[in-house]
Amino acid sequence: MLLNTISNALSTLSEPWWKIFYDFSSLTQAIDEGLRSSLSPFWAVTIEMLIIGVVFLLFYALIGLFLVIAERKVCAFIQNRLGPNRIGPYGLFQTIADLVKLLFKELIPIKNADGFLFNLAPYIVIIVNFMVLAALPYGKGLHAIDFNIGIFYVIAVSSMSVIGVLLAGWSSNSKYSLIGAMRSGAQIVSYELSIGLAIITVVVLAGSMQLSEIVEAQRTGWFIFKGHVPAFLAFIIYIIAGTAETNRGPFDMAEAESELTAGYHTEYSGIKFAFFYLAEYINMFIVAAVAATLFLGGWMPFHVGNWEGFNRIMDFIPPFFWFFGKTFFVIYLIMLFKWTFPRLRIDQLLTLEWKYLLPINLVNVLIMAFLVLMGWHF
């Protein structure tokens, strides 16, 4: 019945199917109308929620698996290696095999651990990820919720992922885990400031917190070009702070394997470990996606002034692909950080935040506000 409704809805689409890639709103509206016409509002909403839930579950798993293999391949190429090359063409199914392995692995119970919190922690991290993913604009009209306060919501929700890490570290009843959790707590809490301020710089430029409006405001030019130096600085700071926020790259103090073996998830095994592992990659995706949305124009194609022909060609690439292209570019940057730099020490990490990023950021916001007041941006 449900499938019928959806296929009916699809058949009412006036445009050819590939046009969907340019504007998803017609598709989503068609499904919505189809459901509402044949069902009571309660069931219509429930089914819509279910569809979105399933889509995000799939999306989450796919992105996670893809990013893991991507990271392994990227780091392999950086290090003059081939990377996974056994399972599937070019080893592309390696992560699926890994996932299956992790699913079947024993979940080792920890003596004297706080079982409830120990089991809860990975889910907190995962749920937070889902909540953020729902608010991102993936393409034109491809938006689960378009909040008025979009970007504020993203910061608010992502600030909670640290709780999962802290709980995991504490409840494992292991010293390595506890030190890892402490470090990551200090790190995430302080780098949130930088992320927030970098985002505020963009919000000042855009004049809105709604993600769809922010993207729309970049129709005439991406913010990284529009807001010249301050926007560029904010972008750099955002990338650095975002890398730190996801416990990655040179900032992976929380799991520093040469010091703390694996930090806060030392004691986790099997699928619960996989949750943390996956969450780290989804976090990276979120950071990159937000960077792409705020600074690189989201799903907006790249336009240059009045080169009509060039702009026309750019418009041919669907917005969906623009979004993911930009996101993966930022992800590549973040991976490059991780595979190039040695790890910082915990006090250097905090020095970097409080002595360098934060003051520069504050001044940067001021400059940006001044630019916007004077109307000096493009």
């Binding site: 392999a76 290090q79 290696r81 490059l336 190039t340 730099f341």
Partner: protein, 159 residues
């Protein structure tokens, strides 16, 4: 004022050094020709080991199943950890003389440290290293090898 200049100088120098490192890694990412990985089990056919590679000790036999081992036991004496055991037997040759020849030359690959003393000290050059390096077996007993082939004989002219 000086400290402010210092502050920004530090930042610029730091970022510069980071970019330098990223240039190296980025360049390698985009140069797939530099990949050094060998796809090992796939390249078995054209994988050539160096001729001196110490894979395992073997006793070369010629076409007529003859080896050069006289059973003197010098390799056994020289082996630092008892890897080699030479079991000889006495046979009566055609002209009626008693002669000691090798019965079994036992080589325990699992204990070998590849010091090459046996190969080097062998007076008749009966032993050599092969380039075989895939030694993994499921049963440890398979690592105990008899180097002289069944029915093999001492090469003519080797004493």
């Amino acid at each position: 004022m000086n400290s402010i200049i210092q502050y920004f100088k530090e930042i610029i120098q730091g970022v510069g050094s980071l970019l330098k490192g990223m240039r190296v890694t980025n360049r390698y990412f985009f140069s797939p020709g530099k990949i050094v990985t060998q796809k090992y089990p796939n390249n078995r056919k054209d994988l050539v080991m160096f001729e001196r590679f110490k894979g395992e000790v073997v006793m070369p036999h010629n076409e007529s199943n003859e080896h050069k081992c006289t059973g003197c036991g010098i390799c056994e004496i020289n082996c630092p950890n008892g890897t080699i055991e030479v079991i000889s037997k006495t046979i009566i040759t055609e002209d009626g003389k008693k002669k000691r020849v090798i019965d079994k030359h036992i080589y325990r690959l699992g204990m070998c440290t590849f010091c090459a003393l046996c190969v080097k000290t062998c007076p008749s050059n009966a032993l050599a290293f092969s380039q075989e390096f895939e030694h993994a077996v499921f049963n440890r007993a398979l690592l105990i090898k008899t180097l002289n082939k069944p029915g093999s004989q001492l090469m003519k002219g080797v004493e």
